[in-house]
Amino acid sequence: MTCNFYRRLVLAASIVTTATGLLAPMSAQAQGAGDRIRKIVLITWPQGVNPQAHQASQFVAQAWRQLGLEVEVRPMPWSQHIQVVWNEREKWDTTMWRMVGRPERSDPDEVVFNNYHSSTAATGFNFVGYTNPEYDKIATDQRQTPEAEKRKSLVVQAQRLLDRDQPQMFLVHPSSIKAFNKDVWVEDSIVNQSGIGIRNFWTFVRATPKGAQKQMVLNSAEPVVAVSPMYIAGAASSWVTELVWDRLARVGPDGLPQPWAAERIDWVNSTTVDVTLRAGMNWHDGRPVTIDDVIYSFEAPAMGNKVPMYRSAVNDITKVERSGERRVRFTLKTPNSAFVTATLAKINLIPKHVWDPIMKDLMNKPENAESIPNPPPIGSGPFKMVRNRGQEEIVLDRFDGHFSAPKMDRWVLRIVPNPEATLGMFRRNEINFLADYGGAPEVLEKLSKDAPQLVLKSEVDIGFEYAAFNLRRPPFSDVNFRRALSMAVDRNMLVQAAWKGYAVVSNSHVSPALKYWHDADITKIRTGLPVAREILERAGYKVVGGRLNYPDGVKETLQPN
């Protein structure tokens, strides 16, 4: 072979490569398609932390790839995950997320309003950026409607709107599996809370030791990033906060609100409620809980935007004022049928003498309350903080001065990132309450069969797992694109393959655990790749060269993040 031959070969290859490069976009244009859609990044949980959601994200990504998208599944540690999704709202495309079942979510208002009302899109729970005046009106109306049936009808409408608009892909309502050692705890003293399971506030307060061991040792796979009455940075953080700080009301085991730090709650009219504080309550530093503290607790979250996580819960309050020796009066802007659950059972009571200097300092700074993840842990709750090492262990002691002092002496939360070690610890009684288990359910079932003192309890959660879209970033701003991506995934397959049967299909933010409010027909959706492709085709999306392109004339304006 001569040099000339090789020169001609190289020249021919260059011509072919250049022509292909020139022709490719022409080919897309010739087919009436817009630009190729950029690579989509799906942020997810690390496998060791949440194996079910991690697995589900792989299935979801695979389905999207079959529609012609390039998808990267990107695991992130929790502290980074929450930072990106919560604080960098313009910068992510899609993320796996979960709303955990908390007692205050026993009333659907918390999720119906806070998660999707446009007022919480900038800094609150509506981090997907869903802005729909029609939804806003329904969310507001259901909050102000005292008649149960009428309110239920509005909540059902809210579910159907989200089904139509798909601001996120609801995947499943997981069945939480928790367990305890009945050699340590009186079995009947472990409380099952509707939609929450046995890991709840009432269990922690009422669990009665059987023998010499009087401390509850439970686990979390995630570290506790913050213990603050003004900021919840994850599930484990919320367990601790609930125990250290009281609230005027609490959601009971039956899912209904009941007075807690309040002795009584009396509605004067539809926008005025009097709350009488219990007598004799003290803070953990020995000082008495006063009406001024209670008033301050509801004023502080409304100061500027210093407490974004709780601000929406007090937005509806016009004023809070003393109306008696131990009585405070709340005046609302509009009637709010969920006020007791969504506000009184959510806002933590904080000592003014501790928080006034902190908030005054914050008002002079650009930071908000979330920049103080571990403020002085002075609450009035049934447990008081002994040690906070969020990466290792949290230790709380019983607060004997509490009106409902716990039966146990101590509550110890251990951070155990290794699920196998968690099971071993549980079997050896190094942990006597299994609060967080992300491993295979069948392994836990076998363990319980081999060791009958280990009692398992499973409950469909109020919460839900989902893949959130960022509606601020095209093509996720297009409802058709979102619907297609959502319908591409078979939820029943996810329940079996990712959650091993320990979940139910979801297409709503109102869990079937909330039987009265849940729309039973909402999960009757057609899913599958043909359904998704049909939606994309009708919307003008085209597959060119194996890759999904925008409709004709639409440019890709963003880079992959």
């Binding site: 992130m76 040792v217 990466q391 290792e392 290794n418 196998e420 070690a421 071993g424």
Partner: protein, 325 residues
């Protein structure tokens, strides 16, 4: 004394070079050098405040001086995600890491040196034929697998040791020293240390055996035999002492490397150490925390390197003799 001072100054120079390199790294890389300290999630006013603290709005020489000044004060910034001072986060984990690393290395090297010397002496025997593959097996086996096996046997089944953590639930101590010296701490340390020692012993054992084999063929060993000295004295006082020199260096360097590298052990045994923090910081782009932990590892490496130099002088008279002449 003069030698020690010289080596110390040399080490300080290396440390200065590392610190300077870290300073320049973020300024020479593409992208915003302020990413080292300022989270994008902060408001503009917060960013300005941090810029002022670290002098990021000043000229480069001024920034450098302020950077070194802050480091000398232990001011390493605030973790982007944990939102606590980096110094506090690192110092909380450091005692656990140093204990695990140091004890693990002592065990590994003590066993490795003795076993390596013995196997060299027994070269060609059945003992050597069985032991070497076993040692190579422990060297090749993944650390997490070894850890899980030990956990399953000694913790889950036999119940001899706890399954994780650095202390019993809720254990309280008046001081950090009290905690580190408590029986509970050592009980929790046992399995992680055993795993680490099992994983590490392969290197000193094989190194010692190799250098012993060379030493045993040296003329001074032949002379010692001819003089009729006892075998034990020949092996320990003559051959092993010379063969141990490279092992001493390896020990010192391993100490420095392992300070930030025990993440696998720490995850398997839920051991609250620096390795997990470092990996988490790097994977989440928590630059202040990653930098702070990295600086600490550098300090450890440089200090151990210095120790290796000084140990060499003590162990090998030829080095001090050459220096004097």
């Amino acid at each position: 004394m003069r030698f020690i001072l010289t080596r110390l100054l040399h080490s300080l120079f290396v440390l200065w070079a590392v610190v300077t390199l870290m300073f320049l790294m973020f300024r020479l890389m593409p992208g915003d050098p302020m990413a080292a300290y300022i989270s994008e999630a902060l408001s503009e006013e917060s960013k300005q405040s941090i810029r002022a603290q670290f002098g990021l709005d000043r000229s480069l020489p001024e920034q450098y001086l302020l950077y070194v000044y802050n480091l000398c004060r232990g001011e390493l910034g605030t973790s982007f995600f944990i939102k606590e001072p980096v110094w506090d986060i690192v110092m909380a984990a450091l005692p656990n890491t140093l204990t695990l690393t140091f004890i693990g290395l002592i065990l590994a090297y003590s066993f490795g040196v003795v076993a390596g010397a013995y196997l060299a002496w027994k070269r060609g025997s059945l003992t050597e034929g069985i032991a070497i593959p076993i040692v190579l097996g422990t060297r090749a086996a993944p650390e997490f697998w070894v850890g899980m096996i030990l956990l399953a046997i000694f913790a889950f089944n036999l119940g001899w040791f706890p399954s994780g953590g650095a202390a019993s639930p809720g254990a309280m101590y008046d001081s950090e020293w009290q905690r580190l010296l408590s029986a509970d701490f050592w009980h929790h340390l046992a399995l992680p240390v055993l795993t680490l020692a099992l994983y590490l012993q392969g290197l000193p054992l094989l190194l010692m055996r190799s250098t012993m084999l060379d030493a045993l063929h040296e003329e001074y060993v032949t002379m010692a035999r001819m003089k009729g000295l006892p075998t034990r004295r020949i092996v320990l006082n003559h051959a092993a002492r010379n063969a141990m020199l490279p092992v001493a260096t390896a020990f010192a360097l391993s100490m420095g490397q392992l300070v930030g590298g025990n993440v696998v052990i720490e995850t398997v045994f839920s051991w609250p150490g620096l390795g997990r923090i470092l990996v988490q910081a790097v994977s989440s782009s928590d630059y202040p925390l990653a930098q702070g932990a990295f600086l600490l590892v550098s300090v450890a490496l440089i200090a151990m390197n210095l120790l290796a130099d000084l140990l060499y002088t003590l162990l090998d008279p030829r080095v001090s003799h050459e220096r004097r002449h």
